[in-house]
């Protein structure tokens, strides 16, 4: 009883169905298309939606990058990468620029994406109105009628209570002036990268059995009021302790000796390439000085 694993694990029928779902998602930007999500060898909630998209669209020539909360080496990123390469033997990379297919959990890479790249984001709760309305039947109707006052009221109530909007990751966006969409729990810092992105963005929610998309060059705005504009996380006055940049989303770390906080770039691959650039520049300087 020895069974061979199919290329990219899923049988071709399943892949075809998922690709059709993706096409529909691309055709209706921001609309959540239901699909018969398969049970995967990794747990539901650990990126099975993203994984099913990746496995359905990956080809032998693709170069794959997988990140989890900004890191290529996070255990779950490694695990997903391992599963995809084991069943496809495609090349992998940590360099955002080199990748043709990027699967990510909760971050959009800081190196700007290009038109020959596809970003697949893992989504826990695809429904941006779920906190306001628990029933799927009702939220479907709200989207159909473009009835988004619940989402606006949520922001308004926060302003009344706290003096400003208090959303964190997964701040809802309006796609192509039609659908309010959950951008997946990316920090607000990443929201603007979806707007007019050159790369195709695909969102997969395995447990919730939904796929949605933002095609390249689509208008995407974060929900906000004119007098309370959208605000991203602030790292003012903070610099990465490795590459020294001040323009990045940072992880806050604590020095075990002094108990003082210090900061590091969250996108480890972007940090690494900055480090290498700095190094190269220093070598040139040394050379010129000679």
């Amino acid at each position: 009883m020895k069974l061979q694993t199919h290329f990219a694990l899923l049988d071709e029928g399943s892949k075809q169905e998922i690709r059709r779902t993706i096409l529909k998602a691309v055709a209706i930007p921001g609309y959540q298309v239901p699909f018969a999500s398969r049970e995967m060898p990794i747990a539901r909630g650990w990126g099975t939606g993203g994984l099913q998209i990746t496995l359905s669209i990956i080809g032998k020539k693709d170069i794959l990058k997988v990140i989890d909360q900004g890191s290529d080496e996070s255990v779950n990123a490694v695990n997903i990468k391992k599963l995809v390469t084991k069943t496809t033997a495609v090349e992998t990379t940590d360099e955002t620029k080199e990748a043709t297919l990027i699967q990510s959990r909760h971050r959009i890479p800081e190196v700007p994406l290009k038109s020959n790249q596809i970003l697949v984001l893992q989504v826990p709760i695809p429904e941006p109105l779920r906190q306001i309305e628990a029933s799927e039947l009702k939220t479907k109707a709200l989207h159909a009628e473009q009835e988004y006052s619940g989402a606006w009221l949520m922001l308004f109530e926060q302003i009344m209570k706290y003096g400003k909007t208090a959303t964190d990751a997964d701040h809802p966006v309006l796609v192509h002036n039609r659908y309010v969409m959950a951008p997946s729990p990316i920090p607000k810092y990443d929201n603007d990268k979806i707007h007019q992105s050159e790369a195709l963005l695909l969102f997969g929610a395995g447990r919730e059995k939904k796929i949605y998309a933002v095609p390249p060059f689509t208008n995407v705005t974060s929900l906000a009021f004119e007098d309370y504009p959208f605000e991203v996380e602030s790292f003012e006055g903070k610099a990465c302790h490795l590459c020294k940049t001040t323009k990045a989303f940072m992880d806050e770390l604590v020095d075990e000796l002094t108990n003082e906080p210090y900061y590091a770039c969250n996108d480890t691959s972007a940090c690494l390439s900055r480090l290498n650039q700095n190094e190269a520049r220093m070598e040139v300087d040394v050379h010129v000085a000679k």
């Binding site: 239901p34 996070s74 706290y162 964190d168």
Partner: protein, 368 residues
């Protein structure tokens, strides 16, 4: 020299997996699949039911690989299941044709065909049997021999292949409403995601593959106070059902051309639920049926399923157990355990974002 990426995660995972293998085999005891199949009937049945994959060998292998962890064994089988194409659908089965091994009714003492206790823990005293600590193969052989000998002496008068349904008896009395046969092609929840309102076929599929504990708990809630179901087990059957498929190319209407592909062991429950029906000016009492069927002998789950099947058919949504989204979207083993366990994944970015939000609000308190 350029900086290179740290490869911590890869190595850590390898070490963790080695550790897992170590834990599985460190006692140097080999348990083979036949032993699991031959001794862990209850576990196999639960795993097959929750994974909605009927295969005792595969279930036993999954149990071995998962070190007896049910959640993990179900996970393995479901993941395996989704790599297989669906080749056939079996033809509809009349459950009257079940080869019955156990059949009881809590509604009538004297049901046509009789009560048949079969094998059940129900009538055993739950006292630890320390004799089992020194059970030997020769003891077993001796016991089996005398049991089978006695069995041969018994005269079987009933045909256990076609016992009438208890409900038929009540239908003759018009205590159950006449229901038209619904022969609509069932939807397949593994091929098409569940949409609401769900059809009965979808509801039954989700319930039967539900986590045993979850189905049992919600069924319990529905009869204890958070629901309006007061069921009587009209009939509970355990036995084998024959499966047939149509000839793949030569599709005639003739049943004789069908292929017999084996049997599945199931538990089937029909719960009788009294309901009050308005007939003109006055109210009348009638019975309705809640239906439960699960792979293997999983009687509590099958009864709970029949309760939930009925409570989900009610129009009002007074209780969570009557809300199909509440029940059907939360009882799947893989979905619930997957999302709960994902909380172990790092949430550094999302938490940093939350911190930022809380700090900003603390810095500038609202002045209204």
């Amino acid at each position: 020299m350029a900086y290179a990426a740290v490869k911590g995660g890869t190595k850590a995972i390898e070490q963790s997996l080695d550790r897992l293998t170590y834990e599985r085999i460190q006692s140097k005891q080999v348990i083979d699949i036949e032993t699991i199949k031959g001794t862990m009937r209850g576990l196999i049945d639960q795993v097959m039911s929750e994974s909605s994959l009927y295969g005792e060998d595969l279930a036993a292998l999954a149990i071995k690989q998962a070190e007896g962890n049910v959640e993990e064994a179900v996970f393995l089988l479901r993941a395996h299941r989704s790599t297989l194409p669906r080749v056939y659908y079996t033809k509809p089965i009349e459950t009257e044709n079940m080869a019955v091994e156990r059949r009881i009714s809590a509604s009538f003492k004297d049901i046509p065909g009789g009560q048949l206790l079969g094998a059940s823990h129900d009538y055993s005293h739950r006292i630890m049997n320390f004799e089992l600590l020194k059970e030997t193969q020769s003891d077993m052989k001796k016991w089996l021999q005398s049991f089978l000998q006695a069995e041969e002496q018994v005269e079987h008068t009933t045909n256990l292949q076609c016992l009438p349904k208890v409900v038929d008896y009540l239908r003759q009395e018009r205590l159950f409403p006449e229901v038209e046969e619904d022969n609509a092609e069932p939807l397949d929840v593994t091929k098409q995601s569940l949409q609401f309102p769900a059809t009965r076929s979808e509801r039954l599929q989700i319930l039967t593959r539900g986590n045993t504990g979850a189905v049992t708990s919600l069924g319990y809630a529905a009869i204890r106070g958070y629901g309006e179901v007061h069921p009587t087990v009209g009939e509970l059957r355990v036995g084998h059902l024959p499966l047939t498929i149509e000839h793949p190319t030569n599709q005639t209407q003739n049943d004789e051309d069908d292929y017999y592909i084996g049997t599945v062991k199931v538990t089937e429950v029909e719960s009788f639920i009294p309901v009050s029906i308005k007939k003109g000016q006055k109210e009348e009492l009638e019975f309705e049926i809640g239906y439960g069927i699960v792979f293997g002998q999983n009687e509590t789950k099958a009864i709970a399923m029949s309760i939930l099947d009925y409570s989900l058919s009610s129009e009002g949504k007074k209780y969570p157990t009557e809300d199909e989204e509440f029940v059907l979207l939360h009882i799947d083993s893989l979905e619930s355990s997957g999302f709960i366990s994902h909380l172990k994944l790092p949430h550094y970015v999302t938490f940093q974002s939350k911190l930022d939000s809380v700090r900003k609000i603390k810095k500038e308190p609202v002045s209204l």
